[in-house]
Structure formats: C-alpha cells, structure tokens
C-alpha cells in the first residue's frame, strides 16, 4: 500500500537506515543532556521533559506508519490509557509509580492486540478504521467512568516518581528520567531497523504479498509492531501523568491522535530521525506561535498536505539530502 508513498524517494533502504548511526545518536543525546544546565528557567527544563514524551509518541507512530505501513489513529488514546493506568494505580491504589510505568505498556499492548488481531488480517485501511473507533471509545470512557478517572475534571493527586529518596518530580530530575527512556527507545529503534526483523518490516510495508513470499510472517510482524508501538505510547503516558501529577481527558482526544500523525508525517515517515524532528516541532511550535495561537492549526494542516503530497520523506528527508549534497557523513 505504501509503495508509491515511499517509492518517490530514490534512496535504497540500506542507505536510508544509514542515518541511524550510533555515533550521531550518542552525540545528540550528550548535547541534549546539557539542556537543564543552560535553560534559563524551570518551565523550559520541564518543556525538555515534555519533548522526550512527545518523542516517544511520534517515534512509536513513525515505527508503525513509516516502517510497517499501518496507520494508528488511536495513539493519543494509548497515551491516555497509559496515563490513566499508571495514574489510577498510584493515586487511588497507592502503587509505586514504577509499577505503573511497567503496567501501562502491558495494558496498552493487550488492547492493541485485541483490536489488531481481527483487523490486521485484512488488507487495507482496516486498522486505521478500527483505531479511529478505539480512540473515540477510550475518550468516552475517560470522561464517563467518573468514579475511576475523575471524569471531565481529570485525575488529580498523582504522585511523582521517586528514586532512592530522590524526588524525580523536580524538572531537572524528571528531564533525565525522560532523557534516559527516550534514549533507550531511540537505541532500540536503531537496532530494530538494522536487524533482520526491521528489513522484514520495510518489506511488508512495500508489499505484503512480496514479503510473505520471501518468508516474512506478515500478520505476526504487523501485530508485534502495533503492540510495541502502543506499549511505547503507554510508557509515554505513564511518564506524562507522573510529570504533571494530573491527567485530563482532552489531552487524549481523537484529534490529538490526528495531530501526532501529522507530526510523524512532517518529521519523516520511515526515516530514523523523523520521530525526533516531528517531536521537536510538536513541542516547539506551540511555544513559538503563542502570540498567534489560533493560526497554529492552519500551519499544521497545510504542512501535512505539502509534506505528504510533495515531500514524502519529511524534514528528515530534507536534512538527509542536504548532508549528502555537502558530501558529509549522514
């Protein structure tokens, strides 16, 4: 299904994953670690933490859409499911936030399997259709189950992470927690796309018939990637709820799922740094456009049309080309 979408790029798959160099990743993460030291105030430090949460979300969606060729319109829903799972376990049942961080991805992956098993068997847009419904149902539940989630007023009194007596709710401490988790996710994505399984994934995104002929277990791969992607969104949700000590249903609306998809596309679907760039834009743009807040959506909408239609490799693709033209290492 995705062949035309990616076919317009002349770069072969091998060269494309060259962007996933360990050196560049390590260097980038070291530079990012300086942020809490140079950021002028706590707000910007916590915005750094938010960036890593957004990174997990956009990266997981990029993995699913860009690498496996399946669209999820429930990523904000999984984000919310992770947030409420972790939040309710710690705020109402007194569990440790760390237990919540473990439980959130498990529940998200289970829900993903439940929706994915019937629909990923079918060729076409069926996962997109089902996840569209799933996000709407999750939103209705977040608002409707007042006794558990706090309903429209949101879930309050969620504790922060603590580690050996340290309060990780402090912006700089939380920054490094999110930095670590997001770094691990980037490393994991690098290993996945360079491994045999990653090549199998790209193959099934290009043509599932051809992939099946080459011995790629199509259904199992699609299911695994969808569950993994949902689990990552669940991790992001758990981090989010313990960072903000609060969760509100609007954060996890269907429309935010659409926005995440827009960010993944603008960043560069199927490009290693696509998720990173998409998340950077998603975090920074609302801050930069604060004075003309209402025009933000228009920018997103037009950018989506232009990028998907005319720059299918997104910002990451533009960056790759520029580096290559200068003859430098990608």
């Amino acid at each position: 299904m995705l062949s035309k979408f990616k076919g317009s790029s002349k770069t072969p798959a091998v060269a494309r994953s060259a962007g996933a160099s360990l050196r560049v990743l390590g260097l980038t993460w070291l530079i990012l670690a300086v942020w809490p030291l140079v950021a002028p105030n706590d707000y910007l430090v916590s915005l750094g933490g938010t960036f890593f949460i957004n990174l997990l979300l956009v990266l997981s969606l990029n993995l699913l859409v860009g690498y496996a060729g399946q669209v999820s319109l429930a990523h904000a829903g999984f984000f919310g499911l992770g947030a409420y799972t972790s939040g309710v376990l710690s705020a109402s049942l007194g569990w440790s936030p760390w237990a919540g961080l473990a439980a959130a991805p498990v529940l998200c992956a289970l829900v993903a399997l439940f929706v994915g098993i019937p629909t990923l068997r079918l060729r076409g847009h069926y996962l997109a259709m089902a996840t569209l419904g799933l996000n709407a149902i999750l939103s209705v539940l977040f608002v409707g189950l007042v006794g558990i989630t706090g309903g429209p007023n949101g879930l309050i009194g969620v504790p922060s992470f603590t580690l050996a007596g340290w309060d990780l709710g402090v912006p700089a401490a939380f920054f490094f927690l999110a930095w670590t988790v997001a770094g691990l996710a980037m490393l994991g994505l690098r290993n996945l796309v360079q491994a045999r399984a990653g090549r199998g994934l790209r193959a099934l995104a290009a043509s599932d018939i051809a992939a099946a002929c080459m011995g790629v277990p199509v259904l199992r791969y699609k299911l695994t990637v969808f569950a993994l992607s949902a689990a990552l969104a669940g991790v992001a949700g758990s981090l989010y709820v313990h960072q903000n000590n609060y969760a509100s249903p609007e954060t996890f609306s269907f429309f935010n799922s659409v926005l995440l998809l827009v960010m993944a596309a603008i960043g560069g679907l199927g490009r290693y740094w696509g998720g990173f760039l998409g998340a950077l834009l998603f975090t920074a743009l609302p801050e930069l456009m604060r004075s003309i807040h209402d025009a933000e959506l228009l920018v997103f909408g037009v950018a989506m049309i232009v990028v998907v239609g005319y720059l299918p490799a997104g910002l990451a693709g533009l960056l790759d080309n520029r580096i290559k033209r200068r003859g430098g290492q990608p």
Partner: protein
Amino acid sequence: MLDAQFIQLLLAGLGTGGIYAMIAVGFNIIFKSTGALNFAQGEWVMMGGLFAAVAVSEMPVWQACLLATAAVTLVGWLSDRIVIRPLRNHAPLTLTLVSVGLAIASKSLVMLTLGKNPQGYPGLSGARKFEVLGAHVDAQTLWILAITVVLMLLTHVFFAHTRYGTALRAACANPEAAALVGISHRGAIAASFALAALYGGLAGAIITPMTLMSYDSGAMLGFKAFSAAMLGGLGNLYGALLGGLLLGVLETSIGGYLTTQFKDGVAFLVLLLILTVRPQGILGRPDVVKV
C-alpha cells in the same frame, strides 16, 4: 411496547440516522472514486451548518440552507481542484493522509473566519412540534426524514438511470477502461468531491437547528457517519442508508433507555464490532482480502 416514549425515540433516532446516512453517502462516493477515506467529510458537515447560520440573517431558513449547501459543494470542488487533483495518482493511503491535512486546514480556516461560538437557527418550520401517536416530534425531524428519503431516491436515480451517474460509476469501477470510452477520471474525481461535499453540507445545514454547530463539531458527526457507512458496507449506497438509520435508532435508544453518559461511544463500538465480525458490512460483498 408502542408507547409514546418509544415512538419519540424511534423518530428522533431515524432523524439522526437520516443525517448519518447522508454523510455516509459522501464517504462512500469518495471512497469509490479514490479508494481513500476522506477525513474532510465531517468538516463539510460543519461548514454546511455554519455557512447557513451566517446566511440566515439575510434570508429565510430554507434559502440559507440551499445557499450553504451550494457553497459547501463549491468548497468540495475547490478542495479537489487545489489539493487532490495534483496528487490523484498517489496511493489511497497518501490521499487519506492528505485529506487529514485538508480537514485540519478547513477547520482552522472556518475557526479563523467565523469564530469559535456555537451557532444555531430555527428549523425549516420554525420551532413547531407535532404530536404523533402521543409522542412530541420536532417538525425539523420530519423535514430531515423527508429530505433523506427524497435525496436517496434522487441519488438512486442519478447513479442507476442517468448518463452522468453511469459514467461516474464506470470511472470508479475501472478508470482505464472508462477513459477508453471517453470518461475522464480527473472529472469523475472532481464530481465525486463536489457531490460528497453537497451531501455533507446539506446534512450540516438541516441538523444545525436540532443540535447547534461549532467549528469543532464536524469530526464527531463525520466519524459517526463513517461508522454507519462501515455498518452498511463501505462504498454501498443502500448500505449507507441502512447503516445510517440503524445506527441513529440504536444510538438514540441506548441514550434514551440505558445511559446518556456512554451514548457517544455506541457508534464506535458498532464500528469495532462490524470490523471484527463482518468487515464488508451488512450489504457489502465479501471481497475483503485477508493477508
């Protein structure tokens, strides 16, 4: 069984269902011609309502509704002309993603020009109510039902018995073969966008007196109607009518008898169920391919 409450809910449900059916036909037409799911469909519904709300201060309600429908039809045609036509040879998934951008851009343009306040206006017969077998029914509900039935009949006649309808069906079924006999695929896609916007705009213009409309209510209406289209069978005209009416009645009766809190989830639960049990929908043929 046939008490007043039941009849009231049934008629209200059929009214909502008629709206879903009209929007669902819009989804079906574009799905047939491009293979894509059109995310902008719900935004056109919203535009129908808001455009009519602007026009209604200058003219009678029925004229405002017609004018708004015509304006939205133009928006649909322009959407194709500006955004879709240059990209029409891309895969359906690309067009679906482009329509996501189109939906966001349309919604924000409406927000920037017409503001964020919910709008409403009186129905086609004012706020008149009728009594049917002891139940109180809005005149607007009866209008919606009548318009749905007439529109569906016209649609049937158009696609089954006119030259243009047949040409459009041919271009959707096999673009290359249709091109060989002189039917332009480009023109067919343009026509399908204009038609789909017409259905959406009209649905929006006649539902607004019942529910109010604001710039962000399009997506919810659109995707409930999409569930209806899936329930009946995506791409099937009669499926859209059946799915819409069924979903409308189901949603309204669950809202009336069981719970209003979870009412908005009903359509999407139906969507998940139908995808699991019968992905081709009630009237669809089983040509869904398994991997």
